[in-house]
Symmetry: C2
Subunit: 327 residues, 2 copies
């Protein structure tokens, strides 16, 4: 069975989805939807339709799973419930605090149209969430730690770019090695925000800007930087373009706990080291799109998360093949 996929939104994530769908032998990219003039959008795959979002309804019977690539702030809260009326959908909604509301909205829509929707796929939420759940289930007496990085935070980079005198910027979130080591030792340390991560900034100034003033403004920015030890490096646009244009990311989910009434300690660790955050996120989403198509064919409907999907649904291999090769 080939799963016919649509991509709704063609930015970094949409391009990643295109690569991942083309790499999957059981999937076919049918169309890319854009808010822009379709004629102005060049996609990497030849022979695939580029259409305007307002024409999406006419693809109702041509697409098995629509993958939504908009942002969590304003796009997905509207788009996922709306498109779940027409299609099976997958999104990567990542505003953790608003997941319960988003789930309820998408669930109502998907149930009424008898489609399957899967929200919050990716690596956090997504693979990291799975590892938090598994580790908590198998080690009920313990403590969770999540570290992010080293990786580019686009939100923090944007925040720096909004400062007067800044021409361009890239911000890396970095886990603190000594904190990671303490957690891995099984000592279950209490760690403050400042003790877990540092922030490393590469900033290009506009002509005549006051470097000291920009540095202070970054370091004192509430929520984004003031709770962290922040390093600001001023570099040229050429250097930024040469060394800091990638979107690497990653991180660590660690649970440390004990069994035998506290006698025996155990440490469970999951980590990702990613050259391209959007391409890896897209790869996770595409695996879940496979699961969504299968669940729909089995008659399921409503909103799901990664917690609700049996792992076997993600693989192109049969149960028999999986048991023989991976168990």
């Amino acid at each position: 069975m080939t799963t016919r996929v649509g991509i709704y939104g063609y930015g970094n994530l949409g391009r990643g989805i295109e690569l991942a769908v083309n790499a999957a032998e059981d999937m076919e990219l049918v169309a890319v939807f854009t808010r822009r003039d379709p004629a102005s959008v060049k996609i990497a795959t030849s022979g695939v339709t580029v259409a305007n979002v307002k024409d999406v309804e006419s693809f109702k019977d041509k697409i098995d799973v629509m993958i939504l690539c908009g942002g969590s702030a304003t796009d997905l809260p509207e788009q996922t419930p709306a498109l779940a009326k027409l299609f099976n959908v997958v999104d990567s909604f990542d505003t953790h605090a608003k997941i319960p509301t988003h789930f309820a909205n998408v669930d109502a829509s998907a149930k009424s149209s008898k489609h399957v929707a899967l929200i919050s796929a990716g690596w956090d939420p997504g693979m990291f969430s799975l590892n938090r759940l598994y580790a908590n289930a198998v080690l009920p007496n313990g403590k969770d730690y999540t570290f992010w990085g080293k990786g580019v935070s686009q939100g923090h980079s944007d925040a720096i770019r909004r400062i007067e005198g800044v021409a361009d910027a890239r911000q890396y979130t970095c886990p603190v090695q000594s904190a990671l080591d303490a957690v891995r030792s099984g000592s279950n340390p209490e760690l403050t925000t400042r003790e877990k991560h540092t922030r490393l900034c590469y900033v290009v100034l506009k002509d005549g800007a006051d470097a000291a003033k920009v540095e202070q403004e970054i370091k004192n920015m509430p929520n984004y930087f003031s709770d962290y030890d922040t390093t600001v490096n001023f570099i040229s646009q050429e250097e930024l373009d040469k060394n800091h244009k990638g979107l690497p990311h990653g991180g660590f989910v660690i649970r440390s706990g004990s069994t035998g009434n506290g006698k025996n300690k155990h440490v469970i660790e999951y980590s990702l080291k990613l050259d391209s955050n959007p391409e890896f996120t897209a790869s996770v989403i595409v695996a879940y799109a496979r699961a969504v198509a299968r669940l729909f064919n089995e008659g399921a409907s409503g909103c799901k998360t990664v917690f609700d999907i049996a792992p076997a649904y993600l693989s192109t291999l049969s149960g028999e093949q999986l048991r023989a090769t991976m168990l």
Copy 2:
């Protein structure tokens, strides 16, 4: 709902199950079954029945899930299909090559009695298998590596103890750090058996035994040692009892691959560092026993593996709680 659990076999694993069931607020230990005289078996929990295995059928309506703690070589191939006729069951069958046959036998039995059976729970097979599957599904273009240790291999320790002149022994399997580093770099190295693990042995000699001869016999033992760099340390029984009586283990599952037609590399790593192999294995099994009870209550039957179980089934938390706290 409280899940009523039985333990079938009371060795290291059975004692670990007892600890894990007692630590689970939604479970109750009903009985421990032994091939020995029940009066001779002292268990840690007061008020729990110890019964002989030949009386197991009379517990048919008193136990929701029977956890089988026998060995994979001869016990489980007989016991799991037999007990699946009477109970929902979980085992930790770990002879990887024989899993397909075991699955088929257990599946036929569980389907005919309309019970749920879950085989091969633990950490390898088990948590490591899950991580192999997830990593392959989300990173189809890549290469898998599994490293074990540092940990005690009971099979290798037993093999040394069978050598003439050996009074006692403990064998540790150790991953080679440089091989781990090479894999983590994303270079996808080809590694031989010898390059991945070393074997470290602590041996107590009988009076008058020939140390050099014992050392050669260990190092040249086919399958167990001859393909590895093996270090043999001769120590006293006191030192072995003091420093080597624990059963620590662990290991690493790493998948390294790429997206974007090979342009961007990604490394996914899962690792365990366990003070007690049997207690951690038991903790995983007990989480899967929870899932088995739920699946049975939903009307499912037949043989399952960790690949078939949606993660949410393992947790005591509701879907709503999981989404709010772990996604």
